[in-house]
């Protein structure tokens, strides 16, 4: 039983990998960016766990910067993905422009809150 579950898991991972390899490069770049942002957030949470949450506003702005940019990147990925029928009419350049603008506004607020 265990053997089959582990082999099931291996088969699952293998199929996931092969499917993922088929995604276009630009989406992979965006996925990589999201992973980077979340990792940075996790490191900040670990730091907070060690030293405590003073000053709390700095901690929040750091975390929200990472999370916010990750969320925006996810939105970009949705809009740029050609298989997504909802956003067929939206050009990727327009989506990218939205991404850049929203990031800039987010980071203005983050910098203000950073203190």
């Amino acid at each position: 039983m265990a053997k089959s579950s582990s082999s099931d898991a291996q088969a699952l991972i293998r199929s996931l990998r092969s499917a993922y390899a088929a995604t276009p490069t630009n989406l992979k770049i965006i996925d990589l960016y999201v992973v980077y942002a979340i990792t940075t957030a996790v490191i900040q949470i670990v730091y907070m766990g060690i030293v405590g949450s003073f000053p709390f506003n700095s901690f929040l702005s750091g975390i929200l910067s990472c999370v916010g940019t990750a969320v925006l990147a996810v939105c970009l990925r949705i809009q740029v993905n050609k298989e997504n029928k909802e956003f067929k009419d939206l050009s990727p350049e327009r989506a990218f422009a939205d991404f850049v603008l929203c990031n800039l506004v987010l980071h203005l607020v983050i910098m203000n809150f950073l203190g």
Binding site: Y33, Y36, V51, E93, A97, L104
Partner: protein, 693 residues
């Protein structure tokens, strides 16, 4: 400058108010004023602070007959000549200089005077302000007195111009723009008008002079009065910066009215009583403590003394405290304001009433006799059997020669307050201790307050102390003194004070120790007994230590109040206070620096991972536009984003939000434009590729 005038005015107002609170004991001008003049007007090196003050000083000295001008003259004359010859002198400077010169009589050529006269004449032609008229007309008068002939151009016109500034209530305006009328201005205008008449030396139509006389009467109708009968002038509209108190205003009106009265042929219709009231007000100021007040007082009193309407006679008492013991007589002086002798007259004491019992007069209609050697009117009060106390006296002056009524003013009835003091006899004084239930069988000790033997008593808390005595005036009546207190002082310096009650014939106090146990803080021991009796009319008020009493009080219960701790030096409260230790919030513990720097490095690790991942994915820059225009825009787009991120870093480090937003707006607009171009050409390129594909 403005706050200075205001504070001076306020002080003058307070001084004037205080003068009514003190029941004005008026005395004529005396040597006290003369020495005050010498003390207040002190030149430094022969010079005073301004020419105005120089004039005030010299005029005061002249009237009082003190001071010598020998050192003032040489120092001030150059200043005067400088002012008179300088082309930049204002009318006020010229006026001050020329009137000081009329007292000092410096050596000045007649050409200078002619020039000055010309300046004044030009000013009269061109001005419409009251102060300029005043300076020029009175300046011309002074120049005329030097022997230079002056001509007042268009005297009637000038008269009319000044008269045009007058108001319905007898006051004047300073100029036609200023809507508020001022009493001071009235005095100044009257002086100026008198100057016009004496300069012009023509017969001005009597009706014109009649209107001015009418104005003066209306002005005097608006006079204010205090409760004690003194009269004064005051401004109705008080302008904070230019406030002149009642003294200055009254002085101004007196100068103006007397100057005008001097030039008209018949007397002004001002009742003599008003002049007496004004004279009393000026004297009730006492000896002023400022130079301006002293000058105003002395100058206006000298005008009153020498005026043509009527000369006031002042009734004053050299001493308001009379002693029955030393057989003092009631003495009254009647003089002019400067202390000169009055015409032959009789003083009648109309009524003397006690200040406590107002309605029944003690004395009525006593005529005072005249002592020609000492120049006083006196009354022997000893045979009149008046008791000690405070009395209000009402006097009436009657002149012997009815002709003198035209020249002198007596001012109706004069009121004065006097104290009659004497020795008070203490009789039947006794003190004793008795038990609560046996009041009648108390053993009382006789006391004599004026012998030195001390009594000693013993009592416990169940007994009472009884003290009584009688007080008699020299005439044998009982008296109720202002103070009658008994003080018991413990060895530990704790004191208790009791007021004595008065019954019909005697003063007594009964101390019930049972009721007072708690008030005495349960302190047993020796208490010193002191008795204080005093009154304003009592010459022998006393504070006697009668002796001591040993008091035996029960033990204090648990919750009894402690006696108040002795007050230490009362000035200790001004010393340094106890140090306050503030409690601050403990600062948060911060992590060690190395840990924070380590985690900074950790945070940058994912960035490295991201770059490595990108390289692994095979990121390239092939889609970067090749044509130079598009490449430029793309570069600018990236530069714009980098600039905004740099701006954010600067914002975090040192900028504030407003600056950041401003700069962000600028870069943002640029970025939008550039970005739009870049992305649109990218879009067209990719669309082209798709099409070809």
């Amino acid at each position: 400058m403005v706050p200075n005038h205001g504070s001076i005015g306020l002080r003058a107002l307070i001084c004037a108010l205080l003068s009514i609170c003190a029941a004005a004991s008026i005395r004529p001008i005396s040597d006290a004023h003369r020495s005050a003049a010498l003390d207040l007007f002190v030149p430094s090196g022969g010079l005073f602070q301004s020419l105005e003050e120089t004039y005030e000083a010299l005029r005061t000295f002249q009237i009082l007959g003190v001071g010598n001008f020998s050192d003032i003259g040489p120092a001030t004359c150059p200043v005067i000549i400088d002012n008179l010859t300088s082309p930049a002198s204002s009318p006020k400077d010229l006026f001050d200089a020329i009137r000081v010169n009329s007292i000092l009589e410096c050596q000045i050529g007649s050409q200078t005077f002619k020039d000055v006269a010309e300046k004044f004449q030009d000013l009269i032609k061109s001005t419409d302000k009251l102060m300029n008229f005043y300076y020029s007309i009175l300046g011309l008068l002074h120049v005329k007195a030097q022997g230079v002939s002056v001509v007042l151009p268009d005297a009637e016109g000038v008269f009319y111009s000044i008269k045009a500034l007058s108001q319905n209530d007898g006051r004047w305006q300073y100029d036609s723009n200023n809507a508020e009328s001022s009493t001071c201005a009235a005095g100044i205008a009257l002086e100026a008008l008198a100057g016009v008449v004496s300069l012009a030396d023509i017969e001005l139509v009597q009706s014109k002079i009649g209107t001015i006389k009418h104005d003066i009467v209306k002005l005097f109708d608006s006079i204010n009065s205090y409760d004690d009968g003194t009269l004064y002038f005051e401004e109705k509209h008080i302008d904070g910066s230019e406030y002149k108190g009642p003294l200055a205003t009254t002085a101004s009106v007196v100068r103006g009215a007397s100057a005008f009265a001097a030039i008209v042929s018949e007397k002004l219709n001002i009742p003599g009583d008003k002049l007496v009231g004004i004279a009393k007000f000026l004297l009730s100021v006492g000896v002023p403590s400022s130079t301006k007040d002293l000058f105003n007082q002395i100058d206006s009193l000298s005008h009153i003394e020498n005026n043509r309407i009527s000369i006031p006679l002042i009734l004053s008492l050299p001493s308001t405290v009379l002693s029955l013991t030393s057989k003092d007589q009631l003495e009254v002086e009647v003089t002019t304001v400067f202390g000169s002798a009055a015409p032959p007259l009789t003083v009648n004491l109309v009524r003397a009433s006690s200040s406590d019992v107002k309605n029944n007069p003690i004395l009525e209609n006593q005529e005072l006799q005249f002592d020609t050697e000492k120049n006083v009117h006196y009354l022997d009060i000893l045979p009149l059997k008046i008791d000690i106390g405070k009395y209000t006296l009402e006097f009436e002056i009657s002149l012997h020669d009815p002709e003198n009524l035209n020249t002198y003013a007596t001012g109706g009835h004069a009121h004065s307050l006097i104290f009659l003091t004497g020795l008070v006899k203490v009789d039947k004084s006794q003190i004793g201790i008795y038990d609560t239930d046996s009041e009648s069988s108390a053993s009382m000790l006789k006391l004599d307050f004026f012998k030195d033997d001390k009594i000693s008593l013993v009592a416990n808390h169940l007994q009472k102390l009884h003290l009584s005595f009688q007080l008699f005036t020299p005439l044998g009546n009982t008296i109720k003194p202002h103070q009658a207190f008994l003080k018991l002082r413990h060895e530990s310096k704790v004191e208790h004070i009791f007021a004595l009650e008065s019954s019909s014939r005697q003063y007594k106090i009964i101390l019930d120790f049972l009721a007072l146990v708690e008030k005495f803080y349960y302190l047993s021991g020796r208490y010193d007994i002191e008795l204080a009796v005093g009154d304003a009319a009592m010459e022998n008020s006393f504070l006697h230590v009668l002796g001591y009493i040993d008091l035996d009080l029960p033990e204090p219960p648990e919750r009894a109040s402690r006696p108040p701790s002795l007050s230490v030096d009362p000035y200790a409260r001004f010393g340094p206070k106890q140090e306050i230790s503030h409690i601050f919030r403990a600062p948060e513990t911060r992590p060690p620096k190395e840990l924070s720097l380590a985690f900074l490095a950790f945070t940058l690790v994912p960035l490295g991972g991201f770059v490595i991942g990108l390289l692994t994915l095979g990121v390239n820059l092939k889609s970067f536009p090749s044509s130079s225009v598009h490449a430029l825009f793309s570069l600018l787009f990236h530069a714009g984003i980098a600039a905004i991120l740099l701006l954010y870093v600067l914002f975090w480090l040192k900028l504030d939000l407003f600056t950041t937003l401003k700069v962000l707006g600028l870069i943002g607009v640029f970025l939008i434009f550039v970005g739009h171009r870049t992305l649109s050409c990218l879009a067209s390129t990719s669309a082209g590729k798709v099409k070809t594909n």
